[in-house]
């Protein structure tokens, strides 16, 4: 059991619409800013593993994968289209020691 803070961005580094890939040392994530808020999530779509670098953030903080148009709620990862589909892995972000970090607790 433990907690890890993994730095993914400096303060003010990301601007609205940026999509920054970060390798956490195994799996990769994307960090984006939408509606002024930062979000971190898996780089691969949970449907068919399409790379989400080119995914689009739509109104209502929905992330749409280009592969087959699966849409996910960026706040929860819930698959909203199609409802009940596999959820996107969304990771919590916190400021820690002056950096924006993914917080992983197990």
């Amino acid at each position: 059991m433990g907690v890890v803070y993994y730095p993914v961005a400096g303060p003010g580094e990301l601007k609205e619409g940026d999509m920054k890939p970060v390798d956490l040392g195994g799996r990769e994530i994307l960090v984006t800013m939408a509606d002024g808020e930062l979000f971190a999530f898996a780089r691969q779509c949970p449907h068919e593993a399409t790379n989400l670098d080119t995914a689009e953030v739509m109104e209502g903080l929905k992330l749409r994968c280009e592969g087959h148009n699966y849409c996910f709620d960026l706040r929860t990862g819930e698959c909203v289209t199609p409802a009940g589909g596999p959820a996107l892995a969304v990771l919590p972000l916190e400021e820690h020691e002056g950096k924006v970090c993914v917080r992983l607790e197990w």
Binding site: M1, G2, V4, Y6, L24, G25, G26, R27, I29, A42, Q44, P46, E48, A49, T50, E56, M58, E59, R64, E66, G67, H68, N69, Y70, C71, T81, P82, G85, P86, A87, A89, L91, V102, L104, E105, W106
Partner: protein, 566 residues
């Protein structure tokens, strides 16, 4: 010469489902003229000893509408034994189109079918208006035979402009659409297609136009086919709603035309849903109407190891651990308290997409030679061999191998269920989706997967039934009345393949799209010759460069209008 081409000594499986027999196939002027033990002279003879000679496959679910304009073979279709394709599925077609509507159609293609915009912009030489004119633009320019469905999206965009993505049509607009359907059918369309899938948007985030249509509108457009006694109605709606079967049934009964709907698939998360679907559609057929479900032959696999798995993201502790840096993750997996937490999460009783069927997930790659005995064993078997709980066995073996042990998981595709689905008379096999999602996947090999994986390796059905499913069944439903069988008078569309080696290869990247964009292709092993209208287009692993393809026109085709001299 008695024949232009003589295919000698193969096992003829003629597409009817009847048992295969040894014999020769004589071809003249693009048609099959004789079958049996033939003794006449021929300009060219192909020795098919040890090979199967079948009709060329009819790939009825493609999105090659654009690709065929720059790639006359729709590669990798011939490489997989396909001689005829149907385009314009899922409501998406490049016609009818009014000047100025092209961009709206591109927006739909780019988003729904994930085609590179720059390829469409550079590769589609617009200029046609009616559906027939689009088909005319392909005449004499293709290596394979091509037919198409009138796309509901193009119909609405053409008649209603941008209001087509905002509202239902007025009665007058429906009448205009009906007139375009009539014109398109007279131009040679094989039917119409629509799209009611709530996942399908245009590039600008608006729903594709056909989603705004009322069912009444769709039914009225379909009535045109009923009046003309021609064509199929192809649909895509949400893939897992049983309720939709009611309107497929209604449409089939109202029009007496074949309806094709998507899809009948096995999923481990809803393992009996395919049975529910097939039972729901049975009364339609029992009463003498046709509404075929569409099934794919290719199970979707996911290779994972404990370094990159995303299949466990549905459980919070698993998710967090799988994102940890590798050395921390290994520590976490080794910690007994964490291990207990991970197993407790799997034991929770709740619905999850991942099926936790350890008896279905084999080890496909090991890092250490001493672990090769585990290859092909499922995680459940791994547990038995190591006298451990299966989850412990998966984690411990992975830790011993530096998290490099690779497993193979599928969301669906139980072999027994797939066999039953594909054998159903209510199901059409297909969904190559050729020309779509070109940078994400390629399923050109749906035919060679059926022949290699399902027929040879799994014994899911006799070869004769599989050939029937790939040829005559599809040709019959789509009204391709001189194709899909090896019989005198039929078009000489032929596939010659080795039943012992035929199989789909892995996907490969090719850079052959306009604007220098790349895409995925999929070739096959064991396809020796692909012959279209009597001309060899593929042999020895290469395309020949010949362009013998015909445009496949439906039974309502009125012929090209004669030019009027004034």
């Amino acid at each position: 010469m008695d024949y232009d081409l003589l295919i000698r000594g193969g096992k003829i499986i003629d597409g009817s489902g009847l048992p295969g027999y040894l014999g020769d196939v004589g071809v003249k002027d693009g048609k099959i003229v004789e079958l049996g033990r033939l003794r006449g002279s021929a300009a060219r003879t192909i020795d098919a000893t040890g090979l199967v000679v079948s009709p060329g496959f009819v790939d009825h679910h493609t999105h090659l509408d654009a690709q065929i304009l720059w790639d006359p073979y729709g590669t990798s279709e011939p490489e997989n034994g396909v001689t005829s394709v149907v385009m314009g599925n899922c409501g998406l077609a490049l016609a009818p189109v009014e000047d100025g509507v092209e961009e709206a159609i591109v927006k739909s293609f780019v988003r729904v079918e994930a085609m590179p915009r720059e390829a469409l912009i550079e590769g589609v030489p617009w200029g046609w208006h009616s559906f027939g004119e689009y088909l005319d633009a392909l005449e004499g320019k293709t290596g394979i035979n091509v037919g198409g469905l009138i796309g509901h999206i193009a119909l609405r965009q053409t008649v209603m402009g941008e209001e087509s993505v905002e509202r239902e049509a007025t009665p007058a607009e429906v009448e205009r659409m009906k007139a375009l359907v009539r014109e398109g059918m007279e131009g040679g369309a094989l039917g119409i297609s629509t799209n009611r899938n709530s996942r399908h948007y245009r590039e600008d985030g608006k729903p594709v136009a056909s989603r705004l249509a009322s069912l009444d509108e769709l039914f009225e457009l379909s009535d045109v086919l009923a009046e003309m006694n021609s064509g199929v109605i192809e649909t895509i709606a949400n893939l897992s709603d049983e309720e939709q079967i009611a309107w497929y049934d209604q449409l089939a009964r109202r029009t007496a035309r074949p309806v094709i709907w998507q899809s009948v698939l096995h999923r481990y998360s809803a393992p009996d849903f395919w049975r529910v679907q097939l039972e729901a559609i049975a009364p339609t057929f029992r009463d003498g109407y046709r509404a075929y479900g569409l099934a794919n032959t290719v199970p979707i696999y996911n290779r994972f190891n404990l370094n990159n798995a995303q299949v466990f993201d549905e459980w919070p502790t698993w998710k967090n651990i799988m994102f940890l840096p590798e050395f921390v993750r290994k520590q976490a997996f080794s910690d007994p308290e964490t291990r207990a937490k991970l197993k407790a999460e799997f034991a929770e009783k709740r619905y999850t997409n991942f099926h936790k069927r350890w008896d279905l997930i084999p080890v496909v790659e090991v890092a250490k030679p001493e672990n090769e005995r585990y290859l092909g064993k499922t995680i459940a078997e791994l547990g038995e061999m190591r006298r451990q709980d299966p989850v412990d066995a998966m984690i411990d073996l992975s830790l011993e191998e530096d998290l490099k042990t690779t497993f193979l998981s599928a969301n669906g595709g139980d072999p027994e269920a797939m066999g039953q689905i594909m054998r159903s008379p209510y199901v059409l096999i297909g969904v190559s989706d050729a020309g779509a999602h070109v940078q994400f996947n390629a399923s050109f090999g749906y035919s060679t997967t059926l022949l290699g994986l399902h027929v040879r390796e799994r014994g899911a059905m006799p070869l004769e039934q599989a050939i029937y499913k790939l040829t005559f069944q599809v040709a019959s439903v789509y009204g391709l009345n001189d194709r899909g069988l090896l019989r005198p008078g039929y078009a000489a569309d032929v596939c010659v393949f080795n039943p012992e080696t035929v199989r789909a290869r892995d996907w490969e990247w090719v850079q052959d799209y306009p604007a220098n964009t790349r895409r995925l292709a999929q070739k096959a092993d064991g396809i020796e010759y692909t012959i279209v209208n009597g001309t060899v287009i593929y042999e020895g692993g290469r395309l020949t460069g010949a362009l013998p393809g015909h445009v496949l026109r439906g039974s309502a085709y009125a012929g090209r209008p004669e030019p009027v001299l004034v």
